[in-house]
């Protein structure tokens, strides 16, 4: 196989500009050659950055309104779907119910943690979230939650981390954290046997509410605890600043 490496064609393949026969030849080689496949990955990373160098142009101001007026209605939430029984009083956002009802209609790639994120985001504060958690809804059996407590300096802060059963993905929602200036950020730490891995950085809105989508190389369920610290903007390789939230799985 080594004599037939397609290395000279890989950049063009990544750009998707090969003639059909050449593209076919490259594709079948890639399926069998891991070194060329790695080469392709590196060029795809170049290609994905190229659109950022399109010369800046401003769309006309009317375009957004025009777009929004054309949105076709989605079929996901029809009136015929009976909302799940909810043991909470009708709140200002009754569309939670339709959201819950719609979960099964989402593609399987949408794990429950992301669906729960939607609920939490729409709940807009943790108090409402706690009430959702107490609901006896079938989907609640398929996710794991970790409560995070505010540290003594910020006792009013709280957070919850939600992940799917396998821990493939999760979301963090926080409430009651102070807004940071631009030189700082909040950073989530995934802790396992004392070793800390960054789970991402996030900011909070003026109400102290923030959220973070977490993806992890290893399942989130393998970590034993989670913490949030204040770090310089962009985040740190390891925690350096004040701890504001923490909790154990």
């Amino acid at each position: 196989m080594s004599e037939n490496h397609v290395i000279d064609l890989i950049a063009a393949y990544a750009l998707n500009i090969l003639e059909a026969d050449e593209a076919q030849q490259v594709a079948s080689h890639l399926a069998a050659c891991s070194s060329c496949a790695t080469e392709l990955q590196s060029y795809l990373r170049v290609v994905e950055q190229l659109p950022l160098a399109a010369p800046d142009a401003n769309p006309p101001a009317h375009l957004k309104a025009c777009l929004m007026s054309q949105l076709p209605k989605k079929q996901n939430f029809t009136a015929a779907e009976k909302p799940a029984p909810m043991h909470i009083a009708p709140e200002k956002r009754p569309w939670w119910q339709t959201l819950l009802q719609a979960l099964p209609t989402l593609s399987p790639a949408w794990n429950l943690a992301s669906a729960v994120l939607i609920l939490v985001l729409s709940a807009s504060n943790l108090f409402l979230w706690q009430r959702i958690k107490q609901l006896d809804h079938p989907s609640s059996r398929h996710f794991i939650t970790v409560d995070l407590q505010g540290s003594p300096s910020i006792p009013s802060a709280a957070g919850v981390l939600v992940m799917d059963e396998q821990g493939h993905a999760g979301t963090l929602v926080v409430d009651g954290l102070p807004v940071l200036d631009n030189s700082k950020t909040y950073q989530l730490w995934l802790i396992r046997d004392g070793a800390r891995t960054s789970g991402g950085v996030f900011s909070v809105d003026s109400l102290g509410y923030g959220s973070l989508w977490i993806t992890s190389q290893i399942p989130l369920t393998r970590y034993d605890s989670f913490g949030v610290t204040i770090e310089p903007a962009g985040g740190s390789p390891g925690p350096t600043g004040e701890k504001v939230l923490g909790g154990e799985l």
Binding site: S42, P55, A109
Partner: protein, 193 residues
Amino acid sequence: MNYSTYDDYSLIHLVALAEEKALGALYDRYGKLVYSIALNSVGDAGLAEEITQDVFLRIWEKASTYQPEHGKVLTWITSITRHRAIDMLRRRSARPETVQPGWAVEEEGADDPPEMAAPENVEDLVDLAQQQQRVRKALAQLPQDQQKALAMAFFQGYSHSELALALGEPLGTVKTRIRLGMQKLRALLEIEA
């Protein structure tokens, strides 16, 4: 509800759940970029508007199929845009020969990230501005002929042989130009082979 502080993933999730304002927030964040890519490809403001609308309508329809593990939201959106623009050129079965797509290049030493509009999700946008500057600086270091061939290939979908014809150069020369340009970009962007 103000979605401007939500990260891209959350917005896409909300769009999948038919939340129109979340699509509006995505448009506020990336509409300009989408339009810029489209305009650079087709060279016509009316067509670029049409493509921009198509792209966001497609996001509206397809958000539930988006898979975070396959790449960033930004990459998904720009890739839809590029393909949509190239499709449009192909459907019209004639490329605008007078339209020469280009690159926004930044010379070394320019270090103010592009100005951002409105309060928005800080991480995503700081990230975007930095990436934008990095790739523009990298492109600035390529010879003009490589820049030009790459722009035609990337924004207009020219194949090797179409490039050779349009540029009046031998096929081998064109192939080499694309390959060297991409190699150099990869090195400048510090992507490991």
